[in-house]
Structures are given as C-alpha cells and as structure tokens.
C-alpha cells in the first residue's frame, strides 16, 4: 500500500521525468532546426526566426505525444502495471468484499436513432442483470429531443423496453421541455431532481455501451477511493461499418491503450473527463461542478460547449481526483462513419475547446487542470500553426533557391560594433589621453571576445555541417513512426494479440494501409481545422445537431464534392502548382501534404464505402480483438439490432411523421404520451385558438402542412391530442386529409409484427 507521502514523491518524479524528456527533446529539435536555418540563411532573423517560432509549439506537441506513448510502452510492455493507477490493483476477493452504492446510469439523448439507443440500454441492462447486482443500478434516459417523431418513438420504446425487461421502476424516461445548456444542462437537471438519491452516476453518450462487470467494478473502485471524483474509462470504438470507421477502430484498438497508460502514468489523478463512459461522484459534482458562464457572447463566450474538461477542472478544484482507467475493459462507443461527419464533430469540438481560452487565466485551477485546458485549445491551434510553418518554409525555400539569403552578413552585435572602432576614431575622440588609452584597451578585449564568440558559434554550426538537414528529418520520423513500430512489434511478438488483429499478414497489410490513410488524412484535417479556428475567431458559432453514427442509405457523392472542391482547388492544385513553379525542390518535400489535399474528394468517398464487420471472422483487413471475439454485451446488441432492422419499414408516405401519427392514432401511445406530460393549467384563450388552428390544419391537410415547431407545441397540449385522436377516428373519410385515411388503413394492418419505427 502506497502512502500519500510516497504517492506525492513518486508523482513528482514521474512528472519531472516526463517534462524533462519533453523539454530536452524539444530544445534539441529547435536547436537542430536553428542550426539548419543558420547554415542556409547565414544567420537567424526575420523569416528564419518566424519559422523557428512556429516550430516550437509544433515540435513541443510532437514530443509530448511521443513521450506519452513511450511511457505507455514502458508501463504496459516493460513494467506490466502502474503502481499508482487506481484501476490496476484489486484481486477478485478484494473486489467482492467492497459493497456497492446506489448508481444511476444516465443516457442523455438528442434526436438519436431510437432503436440503437434503446437496444443499447437493453444490452447494458441485461449485462448488469447477469452480474447479480442490478439492485444497485437505475437507468435514466434523459431526452432533449426536439424532433416530434423522435420524442414519441422514445416514449414508445421506453414503455416497450420496460415491459419486455420487467424493468418498470428501474429504467426511467424523462423529457425536458427546454433543452437549456444542452448535454451538460441535461445532466445538471437530473442532478437537481434526483441526484441526491444516488452516490454515483455513470454518464453515457447515446451510442455508449458498457458491460455489467465494468460498471460494477467502476462503482467498487469509487467506493475504494473516496477522494476520486471522476473515473474515466477509455472506450473502444465499435460498430464501424465504413472504411473510415474501421480504420479508426483499428487504430483505436492498437494505439489507444498505450497512449492512455502513458497519459495516466504522469497525470495520475489529474486527468481529463471526456463527457461519457465515466463514473462521477454525484455529491461533489452537484456542489462544485455547475458550469460558469463565460464573458462575451457565443461563439467565444456565453455558455460553455465542451463542458467535460471544465467539469474535470472544477472537480479537481474541489479537491477530488480525476482518474483515467486504461486497464478497464468493457467500455465502448461508436465513432463518426465518414470523414465529413468527423469534420462536423470537430467543428463543434473546435469551438468548444477554443472557448476554454478564457478559462486559462483563472487563478482557480489546481495542478494540471490549466494544462489540460490549454492542451484542448492547442489541439486545434496546431493546425493553423502547421499551415503557417509550411507557408513560411515555402518562402524560405524560395529565398534559398534564389540565393537570396535574408542576412548575408548578420548584423553585428553591439559588442562587435565596439570591437570595430578604429584607431582614428579613438584618436579623434574628445577625451582625455588616459581615457583614450582605456578605450583602446577595452576595444582590444572586446575584439578578442567577439572573435572567440563568432568562432565558437561558427565552429559549432560548421561542424554540424549538413547533419541538421537530415537529423531533423530523422528525429521527426522517429517521433512519428518510432512508437508505432514498437507497438506493432509488440503485437507481432505476441501470438494471442496478433490473432486478435486478424493474424500476421492481415495485421501488417492493415498497418500499411492505415499509415497511408492517416498520412492522407492529416493535411485535410490541417486545412479544415484552420478553417474552423478562423470561423470561430470571426464569430461564426455552431448549432447543436445530432451526430450521425451510421452511414444509413449509402455513400453521398455530392457532399464530398461540395465540401472538398474548393479546398482541392486552392490548397491542393493552387498551392501545389505555385510551389512547383517557384521552388521545385521544396515541392517534393511538400508533396505528401499536397497529395492528401488533392485526393480529399476521392479519399472522402472511398472511405465512406461500407465494409462489413463480420464479427467472429478471424482474418481480414482492420480486424480488432472486439470483432474477432465479440464481448457478450456487444454480441447481444448486434443480435437485437439486426433482428429489429429486418422488420418491415412503415409505409413510405407515412415514414416522415410516423411518431406524430402514432400519438394521434394509436390509443395506447396517445394515452401514454398524455400521461407522461406534466399536468398543466388550461392554457389561455389565445393559446387555445392557436392549438385549434393547428389541429384543424393537421386534420384537413395532414402533418406535412404543419411546421415542426407547431407540431412540437401540439405535442405538449393534452387537450388537443385527445381531441385529435377522437376526431381522426370519428370523422367521415371525406373530412380528413388523404394522409390520415392512408394512416388508418395501414396502421397495425400487419398485426403483431411491428414495423421498424414502432419499437416492440
């Protein structure tokens, strides 16, 4: 058992080692570049200094990543465990001895795929049930959906799921009337209403899945470590059905554990919270983690978008630890299926992270919190910095190509200027003879110093010769590919692990393809992240939208062309052609960057192609252990989803407003919806007129004629819904819209076999 004193000492040593390594390699990298620039430009000023300046944060980031991964390799593959980590040390007997505490599993949803959300809940629920510890867990589906159809489908799905699992009183559904503060507001609303009933809450994303064993273990870890406020798992990517998704899933499975272990090694208790797949101690969260409002208006000010990092910092401020749990298995999430979806998500994250800029200057933060916040900001600023670096390099290359060195003779330093004072100048100076004598002696000394200094610097830079040119390249390549090589090597040497990645040959081909994939992707991200930063700075905010988590009806060819067309022309062909014309040598250095941008359209389209996951198959491209041997919680979910997706879809004409149709037509859904609505006083006469007018149009013209916000308003009025229900059923056919006639004739016509939208 490590004492608190020992913990602190070891942590200081770890952080000292990490930051020293980062600092030393960064300084060396910068010196090597400086040497190179010196030799090429015969001095350092202007362009060279600017280049050096933007190189510093870029190389610092690279070094940080490198050493995190290196420490991760050290922890996982050499030491085998982390003595300070809280998730590594419990024996099964110890675990069993720790009692559980009331825990709420929160699933905040916003217009998500209802089938996927509720099947996810079913799998997690069943998995917890199998542990025999279900009594300690309750599930909350916290809806902020403002799509009328989604809302009704969610209610229906909740009821059916509770019925099927006999889970009334265990799974709850709550719909917020106003989605204040988005997801963080949704969770805060839960805390205010029911938080006091639970010691812990596990926050999910709509696509999160966690096994029952993992949930139980997380609660036990929190019970064992009462000063831990947040325990964040490292979720693995699942259900990737496109090339894009599969490559990310593969990279996530291969590299993420190493990076997480490395990060945890030196952050130890001062980590970040990613907003989902994490357990939170409710009481301190309620007391300390309500988000402050930022100065100014959105996009930079106002309500905090990326709440998770700030909540972690607030938890740290309150004196609670925030831990990563890299060794906890059984935590999963889905990723964006295409490049465009990934960029849309990045656009939101970019704005959210840049907002944290204001928080960096608060004296309130403890320890690493400020650094975590700064890291989030720098993640997106790195792209414009990289772009600037490349542009400056182009200018420098042009100067070098023309032999136009910015400083053929470096400006002499004052010491050198004094050393160059002539004998005549001393003789002519209006000074006393003894002063002239002193000046002559000083000049002599300064000349000696200046000569020595010049010789030393010159000798050093001359001695390194052409080495910097290649040294920097080699160092950068080692930083980029060294860790990858070690991780791949470790997998290749382990028969069991390599089998999890589809066997040796499949694994190696996947690695090669994945390397090409990320090489092409990086410049695209650079251009788009730069754009996002500029847009945010110029005040263009983002809307809260539902994240697309599957490819749906297939590849969209139009969107990639529209999204990447301009970028391909300007940054791909334009920049490439100018560089080729002006500095052909530099063009070939820039070629990988230009290639990625030029190929962005086909890259986006090709990576959107569907790629069957084939769970259970032992060989193939981009296999991951979770596919080769699928965990039961995922297999269960996949099975239920495929059965549900095999059901017939509703009539095409009715599909768009199916939820609304259900609530008006189906007597049970209508009754359920009205019962779930909070009882309100009868609305004033003006509102009654408004509702009557919408209802009339709804009957006479069908839902297609009604605006979305009017439909939503109608769904909050029980009187109107009851009346509409009776009217649709009781009016003669000619008095209702053809849409309703079709709905009545189609509804439930297939008997017990439900249509896909009607979750049963």
């Amino acid at each position: 058992m490590i004492t608190a004193q020992e913990f602190r000492e070891r942590l200081v040593r770890r952080r000292g080692t990490y930051f020293s390594l980062v600092a030393i390699t960064s300084i060396l990298g910068v010196l090597v570049l400086a040497a190179r620039l010196w030799r090429e430009g015969k001095g350092l000023a202007g362009l060279e200094l600017a280049l050096l300046l933007v190189f510093i944060p870029l190389f610092w980031q690279l070094c940080m990543g490198f050493w995190i991964a290196a420490l991760g390799i050290w922890v996982r593959h050499i030491k085998g465990s982390d003595a300070l980590a809280i998730d590594d040390k419990m024996t099964p007997e110890e675990e069993e001895a720790i009692p559980l505490a009331p825990t709420a599993v929160l699933i905040p949803v916003y217009n998500e795929d209802v089938l996927r959300v509720f099947e996810g809940v079913r799998s997690v629920y069943r998995s917890v049930e199998k542990t025999g510890k279900l009594d300690h867990f309750e599930f909350f589906i916290l809806s902020d959906s403002d799509n009328p159809n989604r809302w009704i489908e969610e209610e229906t799905a909740w009821m059916e799921l509770c019925k099927q699992l006999n889970a009334f009183g265990k799974i709850f559904y709550r719909k917020r009337r106003k989605a204040i503060n988005r997801k963080s507001g949704n969770v805060a609303d839960f805390c205010r209403r029911w938080g006091a009933k639970y010691r812990y809450m596990v926050v999910f994303d709509a696509d999160s899945v966690m096994s029952g064993d993992t949930l139980v273990k997380m609660v036990r870890l929190m019970e064992k470590h009462p000063t831990t406020g947040i325990l964040q798992t490292a979720p693995r990517a699942i259900f990737s059905e496109t090339v894009f998704g599969r490559v990310f899933q593969f990279a996530n499975a291969l590299y993420s554990p190493v990076f997480m272990s490395g990060l945890n090694y030196w952050q130890a208790g001062e980590s970040s919270f990613w907003g989902h797949n994490a357990i939170i101690r409710v009481k301190p969260f309620i007391e300390h983690c309500d988000l402050p409002e930022l100065p100014g208006k959105e996009p930079f000010g106002g309500r905090i978008l990326s709440h998770d990092l700030v909540e972690a910092a607030l938890m740290r401020r309150a004196g609670y630890a925030v831990w990563l749990a890299p060794s906890l298995q059984g935590s999963f999430e889905e990723g964006p299926p295409t490049l465009i979806d990934s960029l849309k998500r990045d656009r939101r994250w970019c704005q959210g992270n840049l907002q944290h800029f204001w928080l960096l200057f608060s004296p309130a933060w403890k320890g690493l919190s400020r650094m975590n916040l700064a890291g989030g900001v720098l993640n997106y600023l790195t792209s414009p910095i990289w772009l600037t670096f490349l542009l400056l390099s182009a200018f420098l290359a042009r100067d070098n190509a023309l032999g136009r060195h910015a400083h053929p003779e470096a400006e002499p330093a004052p010491i050198v200027q004094l050393a160059k004072v002539t004998d005549k100048a001393i003789a002519d100076a209006p000074l006393a003879p003894e002063k002239k004598q002193t000046l002559a002696e000083v000049r002599k000394d300064f000349a000696a110093i200046a000569r020595d200094t010049k010789v030393t610097l010159k000798r050093w830079f001359d001695e390194v010769g052409d080495a910097p040119r290649f040294l920097l390249f080699v160092v950068t390549m080692v930083m980029l590919f060294g860790i990858k090589t070690v991780i791949v090597g470790a997998v290749l040497l382990d028969k069991k692990r390599v089998a999890g990645f589809g066997g040796r040959s499949s694994f190696l081909v996947s690695i090669a393809l994945e390397t090409v994939f990320f090489a092409l992707l990086a410049p695209i991200l650079m251009v788009f992240h730069t754009r996002f930063v500029v847009m945010t700075v110029l005040g263009q905010g983002v809307k809260w939208v539902t994240q697309r988590r599957n490819i749906g009806d297939g590849v969209d060819w139009r969107e990639p062309i529209l999204t990447f067309g301009g970028v391909t022309l300007i940054f791909g062909f334009g920049w490439g052609a100018i560089t080729l014309l002006v500095t052909p040598t530099f063009f070939w250095w820039l070629f990988p960057v230009i290639l990625g941008i030029v190929l962005s359209i086909p890259f986006s389209i090709i990576t959107s192609f569907k790629m069957d996951e084939e769970p259970g198959a032992t060989a193939g491209l981009f296999r991951v252990p979770d596919l080769v041997s699928e965990p039961p919680v995922l297999a269960n979910l996949r099975d239920h989803l495929s059965k549900a997706q095999a059901r017939i879809e509703p009539h095409e004409m009715l599909r768009a407003d199916y939820g609304l149709m259900l609530v008006i037509l189906d007597p049970y859904v209508n009754a359920l919806h009205c019962s779930l609505l909070r009882q309100r006083k009868s609305p004033p006469p003006e509102s009654r007129k408004y509702y009557a007018a919408i209802s009339e149009r709804m009957l006479a013209e069908g839902p297609g004629a009604i605006k979305r916000e009017d439909k939503l308003a109608l769904l909050y009025d029980t009187e109107s819904l009851n009346r509409l229900h009776l009217q649709v059923w009781s009016l003669p056919a000619e008095k209702v819209a053809p849409w309703w006639r079709l709905a009545i004739s189609q509804y439930n016509v297939f008997g017990r076999e439900p249509v896909r939208q009607l979750y049963r």
Binding site: G169, R193, L391
Partner: protein, 190 residues
C-alpha cells in the same frame, strides 16, 4: 343457420359500412387482432350507435360508432382499474396505459372489453401505473463564482468593442484574404 342481423333504422349502407370498417380499425389499433372477436365487438358497438343515430340523424354513423366504442372502452377500463373516484376520461387514459403495461393486449387480447378479465391482468393494471421517474429529491446545483482573472475582463471589453464595430470581423477576413493574395503574388513575382 342464421347470421347476426343489423338493420339500422337510419343512415345509408355506405355510411354504416364506413362505420363498421372504422370501428374494426379502432379495435385493431387497440391490438384486438382476432377477426372473430373484432366482429362481435363491432356488432355490439354498431347496434348502440344505430340507436343513437335514430335520435341524432345529423351526426354521421362513423362518429357515433367511434364515440360509442370509446365510451365502452373507457367504462370498461374504469371498472378494471377500480379507481371509482376518477373521471371516466382520465380513467380511460390511465387504464389504457395500465392495460398495456400489464401486457393485457398481448397476453389476453380475447378478453378486451370482457368483464371477466383474468385477475393477474387486473391486479397488474392496478399495480403498474406509469412511472416516468422515481420520486424527486431536489438538490440545489448552482454555479460558484469563479475568478477568471484579468484577461477575460480585457476580453469582455474587446467583445463590447467588436459589438460596436460589427464590420470588423469582415475587415479581418478581407485582410486575411489580402495577405494570402499578397503571399501568392510575392511567391510568383520571381
């Protein structure tokens, strides 16, 4: 063999056919899928609707039939959940939810509108009224004052300034484009 007879005194055959089909659909919407059971229920409802139509010939038969069906269902549900003090409309609404939650439509569809509903469903209905959430335990979650340092104050001033000079971002954007254009020209001008 004699078929059940239905000879309404008022209304046309088309009107009553429409009423028949609609009531049948309405029962199907209540998950009564047995055609036999549907037919029995529909005849009963239509007979009562026909009596009413004789007194209210201006009201379409389909309207009266659905009203009759609704009243019958509400009364029946009111009886099953045993909440005598509750008004019949509300009992109809809660009763439907309770019947569904007790799995009545799946387990005993043939017992719909039958006063001899099995006791397990009846007690299940009384037990399982809808639960949208556990009892609330209200907590106060309010943001604590946070000293954001000097910089945000400067930033706030900057935002106020930007709000007054709304065209500034456009100028910055144009400046950025001009800078890029200049850079390109500088590169080409060789």
């Amino acid at each position: 063999m004699t078929a059940p007879t239905f000879n309404p005194a008022t209304g046309t055959t088309e009107e009553w056919n429409e009423a028949f089909a609609r009531v049948e659909d309405y029962f199907r919407a209540h998950r009564v899928h047995s055609r036999m059971h549907q037919a029995q229920l529909v005849y009963g409802i239509l007979a009562r609707a026909a009596e009413r139509h004789a007194a209210e010939p201006g009201t379409p038969p389909v309207t009266l039939a659905i009203a009759e069906a609704n009243v019958s269902i509400n009364r029946w549900l009111h009886q099953q959940i045993g909440e005598n003090a509750m008004d019949i409309e509300k009992a109809g609404r809660l009763g439907r939810v309770a019947f569904l939650l007790a799995d009545g439509p799946t387990k005993h569809p043939e017992m719909f509108l039958d006063n001899d509903l099995p006791e397990d469903v009846r007690s299940g209905m009384r037990l399982r009224l809808e639960q949208s959430g556990p009892n609330m335990e209200v907590s106060s979650m309010v943001g604590r004052d946070m000293d954001l340092g000097l910089f945000p104050e400067v930033a706030e001033f900057a935002w106020d300034f930007l709000n007054k000079w709304r065209f500034l971002p456009t100028i910055i954007l144009l400046g950025l484009f001009a800078l890029i254009a200049f850079a390109i020209l500088a590169l080409i001008k060789l």
